[in-house]
C-alpha cells in the first residue's frame, strides 16, 4: 500500500500482524508507553505526513485503556499531519450501549463515536456492530463489515458438509431473530427462536444476589475439587450455572474475613504477597489485560508518581523483535503491585448496590460480571498448571476504599448493602436468579437436527448454555454449536463452556483478543480468522474501491 501506514494498538497485536501479513506490509513502528501515573503516551516511530494512516485497535478486557490509546494515537497522527486517519476497530467498544435503556441510560456508543471524531479520525472500519444503526452516530463514514459470509462458509464446510442431519439456526432471544433469519437464508436452512419469558413479578430484589450467595454458601467444604463436587451435587442447569458464583464467593469470603479487622489492609497485603509471585507471573504472562488494571491506589501508596517516562526498551532489556515496541513489555514495570486483584474485584462487586431499574433483558449481561469474577478465582485455584486471571474493572480511588473493614463486616453480618452509596458505575447483579426462574420456550422445531445457536457476541455463556441445555434435553436437538461474531469470554467463561455437556463447539471470529492460554486450553473453542476481511477492507478503502463486495462474499 503506497503512502499508507498501518499502526497497531496494544489490544490485539496478533490480529494486527495477521492483517499486516495479508496486506503485505509491516506494522509501522510505534511506542506505546505508560507514565507511572498510568497515563498513556504515544510516539509514532515514523513520518506520517501526507500519509493515509490506519490504526487497528480492538475492544478488549481493558477497554478504557485501549480506547484511550486509540484516541491518543489518532490525535498524534492528526498532529503529525497525516492526510487521512482510519480507525479499524474489529470489535467496537461500548457498542452494546447503543440506546437509552428505558430509564436514564447513557448512549455510551455515541459518546465513543463523538470521541473518535473529535480526536481526529476521518473514517472508521468496524465489524458486526451490535446495532447497525450505530453507524449513524458518526459524522464520518463508517464501514460496518460483516463476519457472516466468513462464518457461513466455515459452517457450510465444517458442519453442514458431511452431516446427514439437518441444520437449524436458532436465536436465543427475540432480538437476534433478524440475524438468525439472515444466516438461515444464506445457508438455506430452517431457523427457530428461543423465547425466555422474564416474569416481571420476580423482581425487584431487596438485597443483592451476591450477598445471598455469600451467606448461603459460606460453610461448604473447600478444596481443589470443590468446583467439581459443587457442580455434581446440584441438578444440572440452574444450580450448575450458579455454583461457580457461590463457590468463588465462599473462597473469598474466607480469605477476607480471616484478615484481622484491626489492620485489614496491611494483613491482606501480607497474605497476598505469599501468592503474589504466582499470580503476578500468571497475570503478566497470560493476562496482560489484567495487568492494565493494577491498582492505581496501591501504586500511589508505595511509590510516588514520578514525572519521567518509563522506558520500555530498558524494561524489556532490549528491543522487541518486530518493528514495533508494543505490549508484552509495556506493563511489566507495573506488575509489582499486582497482588490481590481477585479479592478486590469481588469486594467491589459485592459493594455494588443492586440496580432495580435495570432492563430485564440486559440485566443478564450485567450480572455476568460478578459471576465471572467469582468463577475466575475459582478456576484459578482449581487448575493446577494454568491460571485464569480475573477481569477487573478499573478501580477508582473511591472504589478502592471498599477494601476498608466496614463493608467486610457488613457482608459477614448479613446486612445488605443497598444503602451504600454507589462507589462506581453499578455492575447490576439483579437478574442472576431471576433469569434462572424464567420460562423458556422454543418457537420452531429442532428435533434430530444440528443447532447453530447464533448471536452477535458471546461473553459470559450462561444464557447460551441454558438455551443449549433446553435444546438438547427438552427439544431433542442432535448437537448444539454456539456461533458468534465476537467472542469475549471474560473470566471463566471458556471453562464453563468446556464443562457443559450440551455444547459441541463454540465458533467465534478473532475480532476480540482472547489470551492464548485460554484458547489453547479450550477444546471447544474454534476461532475463525477474520483478518482477510479486515485486510481487504483496508486495501479497498485505500485504493478507493467498493467495500460492498465484502458484505456478501469472502475475500480470497
Amino acid at each position: 500500500m503506497r503512502n499508507a501506514k498501518l499502526f497497531a494498538g496494544t489490544s490485539h497485536l496478533a490480529l494486527a500482524q495477521r492483517v499486516a501479513g495479508h496486506l503485505g506490509v509491516e506494522l509501522a513502528p510505534v511506542s506505546l508507553r505508560r507514565y507511572t501515573n498510568r497515563e498513556t503516551t504515544v510516539d509514532l516511530g515514523c513520518s506520517v505526513r501526507e500519509k493515509d494512516v490506519y490504526i487497528l485497535q480492538s475492544g478488549s478486557m481493558t477497554t478504557n485503556d485501549h480506547l484511550m490509546e486509540a484516541l491518543i494515537m489518532v490525535s498524534a497522527a492528526k498532529l503529525a499531519s497525516a492526510r487521512k486517519i482510519t480507525v479499524v476497530m474489529p470489535y467496537f467498544p461500548y457498542s452494546k450501549q447503543s440506546k437509552k435503556k428505558k430509564r436514564r441510560g447513557a448512549i455510551s456508543g455515541k459518546l465513543v463515536a463523538n470521541m473518535l471524531t473529535v480526536s481526529g479520525a476521518d473514517h472508521v472500519i468496524t465489524m458486526d456492530l451490535h446495532a447497525s444503526q450505530m453507524s449513524g452516530f458518526f459524522t464520518i463514514p463508517v464501514d460496518n463489515l460483516f463476519s457472516e459470509p466468513t462464518i457461513a462458509r466455515w459452517v457450510a464446510d465444517n458442519v453442514i458438509r458431511g452431516s446427514a442431519a439437518g441444520v437449524v439456526v436458532v436465536a436465543k432471544n427475540a432480538g437476534g431473530a433478524k440475524r438468525v433469519t439472515a444466516l438461515a437464508d444464506r445457508l438455506g436452512t430452517q431457523f427457530a427462536l428461543i423465547h425466555t419469558d422474564n416474569a416481571p413479578s420476580t423482581r425487584p430484589f431487596s438485597r443483592t444476589p451476591s450477598t445471598v450467595a455469600l451467606h448461603t454458601l459460606a460453610p461448604t467444604p473447600r478444596g481443589p475439587n470443590m468446583f467439581a463436587s459443587a457442580a455434581s451435587s446440584i441438578p444440572v442447569g440452574v444450580a450448575r450455572a450458579a455454583s461457580p458464583l457461590a463457590g468463588g464467593a465462599d473462597v473469598d469470603l474466607r480469605t477476607i474475613t480471616d484478615a484481622p479487622s484491626a489492620r485489614p489492609e496491611s494483613a491482606r497485603k501480607r497474605r497476598a504477597k505469599g501468592r503474589r509471585n504466582d499470580v503476578v507471573e500468571a497475570l503478566a504472562t497470560s493476562m496482560q489485560r489484567a495487568a492494565f488494571y493494577v491498582s492505581p491506589q496501591l501504586a500511589a501508596d508505595e511509590h510516588t508518581i514520578e514525572p519521567d517516562v518509563l522506558d520500555i526498551d530498558a524494561a524489556a532489556g532490549g528491543s522487541p523483535p518486530s518493528g514495533i515496541e508494543i505490549s508484552e513489555v509495556l506493563n511489566r514495570s507495573d506488575d509489582d503491585d499486582d497482588d490481590d486483584i481477585d479479592e478486590s474485584t469481588l469486594l467491589e462487586m459485592v459493594n455494588t448496590p443492586a440496580d432495580d431499574d435495570c432492563d430485564p433483558h440486559d440485566a443478564a449481561h450485567n450480572s455476568e460480571a460478578i459471576a465471572q469474577a467469582a468463577a475466575g478465582i475459582l478456576e484459578q485455584r482449581q487448575s493446577s498448571g494454568r491460571r485464569a486471571a480475573v477481569p477487573v474493572e478499573t478501580p477508582t480511588p473511591g472504589a478502592r476504599r471498599s477494601l476498608a473493614p466496614t463493608p467486610i463486616q457488613r457482608i459477614t453480618s448479613g446486612t445488605h448493602l443497598q444503602s451504600d452509596p454507589p462507589l462506581r458505575p453499578p455492575v447490576a447483579v439483579t437478574s442472576w436468579h431471576k433469569k434462572r426462574t424464567a420460562r423458556i420456550t422454543l418457537v420452531g422445531d429442532v428435533r434430530d437436527k444440528i443447532v447453530l445457536l447464533l448471536d452477535d457476541m458471546i461473553d459470559h455463556p450462561s444464557s447460551f448454555l441454558t438455551a443449549a441445555e433446553h435444546l438438547m434435553v427438552h427439544c431433542g436437538a442432535r448437537a448444539v454449536y454456539i456461533v458468534a461474531a465476537h467472542g469475549l469470554f471474560s473470566g471463566s467463561s471458556l471453562g464453563e463452556v468446556e464443562i457443559c455437556p450440551y455444547v459441541q463447539s463454540v465458533i467465534v471470529t478473532n475480532t476480540f483478543p482472547i489470551p492464548a492460554e485460554l484458547t489453547s486450553a479450550s477444546s471447544k473453542l474454534i476461532q475463525i480468522d477474520i483478518a482477510p476481511v479486515l485486510a481487504e477492507a483496508i486495501r479497498r478503502n485505500h485504493n478507493g474501491e467498493s467495500i460492498s463486495y465484502l458484505f456478501d462474499r469472502n475475500p480470497l
Partner: protein, 320 residues
C-alpha cells in the same frame, strides 16, 4: 407576570392530534399561520409572543412529509429567533425513521440527517413515539424521549379483542420479534414469527411461519404499516395455518399506496393503528380500520417535561 408558561404550536400535518393534546393540557393552540408562498416556499408567522416560553411544536411525519418537515424546521427556527426559552419538537411519527442504517451499500442514513437538521434549526428537546430503532436517539446530541405505544396496545387487546386470552401474538418479520415477545410476555400469551424468505432469482418469496397458531386468534404486531403488503400476506399465511381470525395492531399507520385496498381484500379482521398519523378519511373507505388514541400519552409527556417530572412512568403505564 406569568413566566415560562407552556405554548403548544401545531403544524399542518396533524391538527386534529394537536388539538386533542392541547385540550388535554387545558390550553389552546398558539396562534400560528403556516402557509405557502406562490413559489411553494413555506411561510410561518408566529402570531403571539413566545419570548421566554416553553414551546412545544407538534408535527408528525406523514402526508407531504418534506413540506411538513420544512414547516417544523422553520417553526423551530422562528421560535428560536423569537427568544423562546426552550423548544421541544414533538414528532409522534418520526420522519425518515426507517432510513436509520446503511442496509445497502451507499444507502444514506437520512434519519441522522433529520436529527442534525432539527438540532441546527434550534430544537432543544425531542419527543417522539416508537422510533423504528431506538438507536435513533443516539443520532441526536439533545435529549430525546422515545415514548411507547405498547401500554395502549395492551389495553386495546384486553378491551377489544374477543377472547384475547386464547390469542397468539405474531411478528410479521424477524426484526419485530422483540416487540412481539414483549407484548406476548405482558399478556402471558404465546408468540409466533413469520419470516419472508429472501427473494432469489425467478422464485416468489415465500412466507414461513414459525410457531403454532391453529384455532387461535392471531394478533400481528408491528411498529409501522405502509403499503400493508406484508400484513396481507401474513394474514393469508396465518389463515392457511389454521388461525381463526387475524388482527393487526400497528403503531404508525402510514397506509399509503394501495394499503386500503389490500386491507379490504385481505383476510384481516381488523387493522388497528394509533393516531400518530391522521387517517380519518381513510376510515371512511376502509371499515376494518380502528384507532387507538395516543394524545393522552403525548400530552402527559409534554406536561411532565414542562414540569420537570420523570417521563419514564409513561413507558409502562397507559394514561387515561
Amino acid at each position: 407576570m406569568s413566566s415560562n408558561s407552556i405554548r403548544i404550536l401545531a403544524g399542518n400535518s396533524h391538527p386534529a392530534l394537536a388539538r386533542l393534546i392541547a385540550k388535554r393540557l387545558g390550553t389552546d393552540l398558539a396562534n400560528v399561520t403556516v402557509a405557502k408562498y406562490s413559489n411553494q416556499e413555506t411561510a410561518v408567522t408566529i402570531g403571539e409572543s413566545v419570548r421566554d416560553e416553553d414551546v412545544y411544536i407538534i408535527q408528525s411525519g406523514c402526508g407531504e412529509i418534506n413540506d411538513h418537515l420544512m414547516e417544523l424546521l422553520i417553526m423551530i427556527n422562528a421560535c428560536k429567533t423569537a427568544s423562546a426559552r426552550r423548544i421541544t419538537a414533538v414528532l409522534p411519527c418520526f420522519p425518515y425513521a426507517r432510513q436509520d442504517k446503511k442496509d445497502k451499500s451507499r444507502a444514506p442514513i437520512s434519519a441522522k440527517l433529520v436529527a442534525n437538521m432539527l438540532s441546527v434549526a434550534g430544537a432543544d428537546h425531542v419527543i417522539t413515539m416508537d422510533l423504528h430503532a431506538s438507536q435513533i436517539q443516539g443520532f441526536f446530541d439533545c435529549p430525546v424521549d422515545n415514548l411507547y405505544g405498547e401500554p395502549m396496545v395492551l389495553r386495546y387487546i384486553r378491551e377489544n379483542v374477543p377472547d384475547w386470552k386464547s390469542a397468539i401474538i405474531v411478528s410479521p418479520d424477524a426484526g419485530g420479534a422483540k416487540r412481539a415477545t414483549s407484548i406476548a410476555d405482558h399478556l402471558d400469551l404465546d408468540f409466533a414469527l413469520i419470516h419472508k424468505e429472501r427473494k432469489k432469482a425467478n422464485e416468489v418469496s415465500r412466507m414461513v411461519l414459525v410457531g403454532d397458531v391453529r384455532d387461535k386468534i392471531a394478533i400481528l404486531v408491528d411498529d409501522m404499516a405502509d403499503t400493508c403488503g406484508t400484513l396481507g400476506l401474513a394474514a393469508k399465511t396465518l389463515m392457511d395455518n389454521g388461525a381463526s381470525a387475524v388482527y393487526a395492531i400497528v403503531i404508525h399507520g402510514v397506509l399509503s399506496g394501495k394499503a386500503l385496498d389490500v386491507i379490504n381484500n385481505s383476510m384481516l379482521t381488523r387493522v388497528v393503528v394509533t393516531n400518530t398519523i391522521p387517517h380519518a378519511e381513510k376510515k371512511k373507505i376502509c371499515p376494518k380500520l380502528d384507532t387507538i388514541d395516543v394524545s393522552a400519552v403525548l400530552a402527559e409527556a409534554i406536561r411532565r417535561t414542562h414540569n420537570g417530572e420523570s417521563v419514564s412512568y409513561l413507558f409502562g403505564h397507559a394514561t387515561i
